[in-house]
């Protein structure tokens, strides 16, 4: 069988390795989707397991808005604070940070992370479909969320899923 083991972030790498290695030892072809590379543990994946890290490029949305609405105004006010208008400018700067720059930065940050996640979900879904697994092991809640991206494909292929690998789940081999 072809088995995809998916555990992006928030899951013990040692446990992913154990799950993937067990599947490989049982004679299955295995692909593992994990978060960032782990130089210490990744070499423990058994030979033959195809390892896919999260290689989505970092996204930084709103570069111009960050410059013109956060960086430049805050830097300008910081410079003015050094002169005789220290107190009123300090107050204005604190007010501006609370009302404009922090909320804007947070919103742009959230949007950036969401875009990264969407891109990663899209990339994983594409790779899963291309790899054509018979069975998918979803090891954490992030993997369950990612599965939404390739659920129609799973349904159309009658592929099966489980939430742990401890030998092929009963009934997963049809």
């Amino acid at each position: 069988m072809r088995i995809a083991v998916i555990a992006p972030g928030g899951y013990s790498r040692a446990a992913v390795i154990e799950e993937a290695n067990r599947a490989a030892a049982d004679g299955h072809r295995v692909i593992a989707f994990v978060a960032a590379p782990n130089a210490r543990l990744d070499p423990d994946f058994a030979r033959g397991i195809e390892l896919r890290h999260d290689d989505t490029a970092r996204v930084r949305k709103g570069r111009l808005a960050r410059l013109w609405l956060v960086k430049y105004p805050m830097a300008g006010m910081r410079r003015l604070q050094r002169g005789p208008l220290r107190r009123p400018v300090g107050k204005a700067r604190a007010l501006y940070a609370d009302r404009v720059s922090k909320p804007l930065s947070n919103r742009l940050e959230r949007q950036s992370r969401r875009l990264e996640r969407d891109r990663y979900a899209h990339a994983v879904a594409e790779r899963v479909r291309a790899w054509e697994p018979d069975h998918v092991v979803l090891l954490n809640v992030e993997a369950v969320a990612l599965a939404e991206g390739f659920l129609p494909w799973l349904e159309s292929r009658s592929a099966t899923v489980s939430y742990a690998y401890a030998g092929i789940p009963i009934g997963a081999d049809h």
Binding site: S158, V161, A166, G171
Partner: protein
């Protein structure tokens, strides 16, 4: 998912070993090993809490995806002793109150069963608020549902009004309700006096297969086993050990377990000058615990609170004397055999309590403890056979010729 036979049993538990938490709920797995040969079939439903992302949109995606995945999900794998294990993630927000957790466990188990009831006529749930509510909501109408409470956090559950009411309902609906120690029964009896008569005690099974060949004559190789968390008071143990070692530099201490407190504890050991005397073993497979214990002379327990104290029985089963804090469960375990098994000391902030008990025990060990008597006393109550007999009587009634 058809189950035939009146001796088919379903076990519902929030704790069971997984690759991520390999020794979590090992006592439930031990119970399965003990009882499975006496049943037509044993099916374990392990409802594991999976915390949803904080991002509400993402959390909803996960919930939606999980619901749609159910028809494709194959959760059953082969477990120990021929049992079948269903691994059922229960998705809910981190930090949810106990009532929400209980209802979510029940809801996700229902989804996993695709609306069908648990087929077994006998259902045994572990942990009153999560396992038991999920069992009661998903058992067949004619099934007998038994519950065992183990939780050391029971006081937190009972402190929440919603959870307290739900727990009341659970005890009411259960066929019989057990706890693993007298202190848990007392705790529940105080909150639910109307259920006092229904609260019974049942033990966790312990492996009595291996023991030291000879009882120790000197107790220099100490061992402690448990999660490295504040409740286990390993910091207290390290301080007491350092004092005892000042008298006897040959003392050694093995610490088995992992936990968030490990870096802090390692730093404390260094500060106390114990680097050469302390061995950090990390987590050990429960199956290897008897052999690891048998390689030591003294088991030391410093917990602030325990509902049962499995590891105290494991130590004595391995022929190792125990020096144990009076932290709840162990007093009951060692009642009547305290002097034969080792010694107990009061939970106190000063390491002097442990040090004094150790010095007295050292003198008594040289004269010889009656560890065989203590071991035999515990074997009759906690061995796999004894606990399996008890569960068999609970589930299927007394069989002819069986001990009552």
């Amino acid at each position: 998912m058809t189950v035939t036979g009146e001796r088919s049993v379903a076990i519902i538990t929030p704790w069971y070993p997984t690759p991520r938490v390999p020794f979590g709920g090992a006592f439930v797995q031990e119970l399965v090993k003990a009882v499975a040969p006496r049943c037509d079939s044993v099916t374990v439903y392990h409802c594991d809490l999976w915390g949803l992302p904080k991002d509400l949109e993402r959390a909803e995606v996960a919930r939606r995806s999980q619901r749609r995945l159910q028809p494709l999900a194959r959760t059953a794998v082969r477990g120990v002793a021929g049992a079948t294990v269903h691994y059922v993630p229960a998705l809910l927000p981190n930090g949810s109150d106990w009532e929400t957790q209980a209802r979510a466990h029940a809801e996700w188990l229902t989804a996993s069963l695709r609306g069908e009831p648990i087929p077994a006529p006998v259902v045994h749930a572990h942990v009153g608020i999560r396992g038991a509510y999920a069992a009661l909501e998903n058992a067949r109408p004619d099934a007998k549902v038994y519950v065992t409470e183990h939780a050391s956090f029971l006081d937190q559950v009972l402190a929440e009004p919603g959870a307290r009411d739900l727990y009341d309902e659970v005890i009411d609906r259960a066929t019989r309700f057990f706890a693993v120690g007298r202190n848990l029964v007392d705790q529940l009896g105080a909150v639910y006096p109307h259920h006092r008569a229904k609260l019974e005690i049942v033990a966790n099974p312990i492996d009595f297969g291996a023991a030291r060949r000879e009882p120790p004559r000197r107790i220099r190789r100490w061992i402690t086993i448990g999660a490295l968390t504040p409740r286990k008071r390993i910091d207290y143990l390290l301080r007491a050990f350092a004092e005892c070692r000042a008298d006897d530099p040959d003392l050694r201490l093995t610490i088995v377990g992992r936990g968030n407190q490990e870096p802090e504890l390692r730093a404390l050991a260094t500060e106390l000058g114990l680097d050469d005397a302390v061995v950090w073993r990390g987590a050990v497979d429960p199956a290897d615990i008897p052999a690891v214990l048998a390689g030591h002379d003294l088991f030391v327990h410093a917990s602030r609170h325990e509902t049962f104290g499995v590891v105290v029985v494991e130590a004595l089963a391995a022929g190792v004397p125990a020096l144990v804090s009076r932290c709840g469960g162990p007093e009951e375990l060692l009642e009547g055999i305290e002097a034969d098994a080792g010694a107990m000391y009061d939970v106190d902030e000063s390491p002097a309590a442990l040090v004094k008990a150790y010095r007295e025990l050292t003198r008594r060990v040289e004269a010889g403890l009656d560890l065989d008597r203590a071991r035999e006393h515990l074997r009759r109550r906690y061995s796999r056979e004894a606990v399996a007999d008890h569960h068999e009587r609970i589930w299927f009634g007394p069989s002819e010729g069986a001990p009552q």
